[in-house]
Amino acid sequence: MKHYKWYFLIIVLMALSVLLSACGKAETPTAAPPPTKEAQVAAPTEVSEAVTETEAPTEVSEVVETEAPVVPHVLKVANTANITTWDPVKSFSTEAAYMANIYEQLLRINPPDSAEQFTPLLAERWESNDDGTEWTFYLRKGVKFHDGEPMNADAVKASLEAAADHAGASFIWWALDHVEAIDDYTVKIYMTASSPVDLIASSLYGAWIISPKALQAATEDENYFEAGVDGGTGPFTIESYIPDQEIVLTRFDDYWGGWQDGQFDKVLIKIVPEAVTQQQMLEGGEVDLVTRIPQENYDDFRNKPDYDVIVEPSFFNYVGFFNTLRAPLDNTKVRQALSYAIPYDDIIKIGAYGLGTQSRGPVPAGVWPWSPDVKQYTYDLDKARELLAEAGFPDGGFTIKLTYASENATEEAFAPLIKDSFAQIGVDVEIEPMLFSQQWELSKSDPPNAQDMFLLLYWPTYSDAGSDNLWSMFHSSEYPFFNLSYWNNPEFDALVDDAIGLTVTDPQTSQEKYVEAMNLLVDEAPGVFFLDTQAIFIVPKYIHGFKYNLNYPFVHHFYYELTSEQ
């Protein structure tokens, strides 16, 4: 009779599942009627009730579709970038790829070598006083947020104040004194120190202009945005969102830039972490654009006539911090020796699949204040041994503990290469992968007893690697944040501080001081500067208008710029 038990089990399971489905359904917000389709032959009355939102019971559907039986013009994208938050103030991570299509800043910085440095977005024009402490922005008129609110000086003031107060990247506004709404369409920003506010205001983080209504809602409910709600002015708005799965953006009909033929009505984004899956989806025609395929396979596409393969510099770079508080890494000669023992070419070839160039200091190529005058280490084991001997370690003989973020596949590939190379000069490496948050916590909690070497992928928050990369990673500070070599060099500090102050008023002197600081950094070697990464794109020939912007490498595609024949 034992089998009864399992017979019931199945029935119970079924009953339970129906129950659960019912619960799930009850939580689904009802959506507007969807487009019907002539292809649906049977039972048109039932079909007309069909709903565009499907899988998860939590989607938000804001579209109001017309009854017209038209198939929308859809762009399909596979993207690795996940959503860590939909809150435009807090946003400081991969979701920027989508944020930039939903929200807008006052202005957008153009790629290097463009005729104009900036593209005006919500500000039509702007000016600053001579020492760069007072900036006036004249706003575009007649712009509406997705929720119908007007975009005006009050909205800008509220957005910037929110950013300075609690943005993920609030530190970019550290010098903000206050924001003043002069009239409906004029905003004046007062800074406590000379600052490149044009650069700051074009940041991908902490610079979005957000509907005051949405901002208010978010102060009342911390998770207001997380269901997939937005309050931007951008060309697209969130139609639905299923975590880890897909995002559907739909065009904002009242977008101030207007709409042309060939632009897309909707963008369907599949979140696909696996590079090989993205490639298969692209080849199978399931998506139009991808963001990552296995590097080994890019050549396949280079030879195909239907695709363009585009390689561009990006503004990410990989840095390794030596713990300068601990012996023997407190010895400059030891750090220099190890810098000579890094197999830069192999790391680029194997770790980054050839997509990168050896760094010159911590500023990535193409980003202010990068300079070809900054020195580099070569891969030279003899030199390394010599320096070790001078430092009193003729055969190495010490062990260093290296930590990296286990979620970063590139760092995972670096680690064994470094270990093997160091082994040749007698230095043993103990590799410890951890989650980034754990790695970082360890490094900040007790520096003298933390790791010996910390691998980090870094990028400037906005397009100024002087006040960001150089200051954040190597300027001394009371508590470590990103200066994880715990280095303290007054000469370097002074040079960087001076250079930052001169950025707006005397860029040339500023750059000279930066170069001096970076060469000092390379000499003292508190860190290893591995490589500046490159971005690679595959664009099918039928998609037009693709433009890469070095300043926003997280934004793989600005969907508004893309067109195709319907």
Partner: protein, 298 residues
């Protein structure tokens, strides 16, 4: 998996030749089981002498070889090389330590914890039995792999933690098994007789109970090993087990996933290794189970 294992017999022939001899006899009579046994022994030897056998032992352990990346299988590299230029054959050989030996260790430890508790519970009964069995209930109330995964995640990724997590979620099965066998043995005439004439409990357990528990445990362990190897391979596959650059079959399958379109050898061979080993354990388990099936002795 645990499931099928629970259907095996608790009743074993009492007082015959030694259980181990009996099992070996059964295996020797079945060509498929014999072959499987040989395969498993070869794999275990391979794991023990991994660094002597592997053509590139250092690469097996993780040393990179930047000029040799992604070579197709050839005479120098029978199973090709990976992204770091490491010999895949050497990686598979060295990887057998974490993919095969560690699961065997997990089962051994689970038995060492589970079996004595089961014997105590079954022999004493009463509140001791109640307490021990409620604790096993607690652990068996979780879907098995879910508990192992949650424990590993909480302790932190890595082979040691994964093994510990597997032992924690696996021992209750042996407690239940041994308890069942002990209770049935206790009711047997020879045990009751021994108790009646006042033989000490410890002597009864050692002389009469223990020898008769060994064979069901061995059968069970053989059947379980395939499952434990698959489960630990799964943990490594999703990234909770062995951490790179150390080799492990499950991890190698996962690493090779990105290259499956062109570098097919990266995932194929470690997968094949898991498959063969698990198949061998299952074939032996199948035979043993058929022979030890209660119906055969009715």
């Amino acid at each position: 998996m645990a499931i099928e294992s629970k259907t095996i017999s608790l009743e074993v022939p009492v007082h015959g030749e030694s259980p181990l001899k009996q099992m070996l006899g059964i295996i020797a009579r079945d060509p498929l089981s014999l072959l499987s046994t040989v395969i498993i022994i070869l794999f275990i030897l391979m794991a023990i002498f991994a660094y002597q056998i592997a053509p590139y032992p250092e690469e097996g352990a993780g040393k990179t070889h930047a000029t040799n990346t992604m070579l197709v299988p050839s005479q120098e590299h029978w199973l090709g090389t990976d992204r770091f230029g490491r010999d895949v054959l050497s990686r598979v050989i060295v990887g057998s330590r974490s993919a095969l030996i560690v699961p065997i260790g997990v089962v051994v430890f689970a038995i060492l914890i589970g079996a004595p508790l089961g014997a105590i519970a079954g022999y004493n009964g009463g509140w001791i039995d109640e307490v021990i069995m409620r604790v096993t209930d607690l652990f068996l109330a979780f879907p098995f792999l879910l508990l192992a995964m949650a424990i590993t995640a909480a302790l932190g990724r890595g082979l040691n933690h994964a093994a510990l997590a597997m032992i924690i979620s696996w021992w209750p099965w042996y407690t239940r098994l041994v308890r069942g066998v002990t209770i049935s043995l206790k009711q047997r005439a020879f045990v009751e007789a021994a108790r009646a004439v006042g033989v000490r409990d410890s002597v009864i357990i050692l002389r009469h109970i223990l020898p008769n528990i060994i064979s069901p445990i061995l059968v069970q362990a053989t059947v379980d090993l395939g499952t434990v190897i698959l489960a630990m391979g799964g943990l490594a596959f999703i990234g909770l087990g062995t951490q790179p650059p150390k080799p492990d079959w499950g991890l190698m399958i996962s690493d090779g996933r990105s290259y499956i379109l062109k570098q097919w050898w990266l995932s194929t061979f470690p997968g094949l290794a898991i498959f063969i080993v698990v198949l061998a354990f299952n074939l032996i388990g199948d035979t043993l189970r058929d022979i030890f099936d209660p119906r055969q002795y009715q």
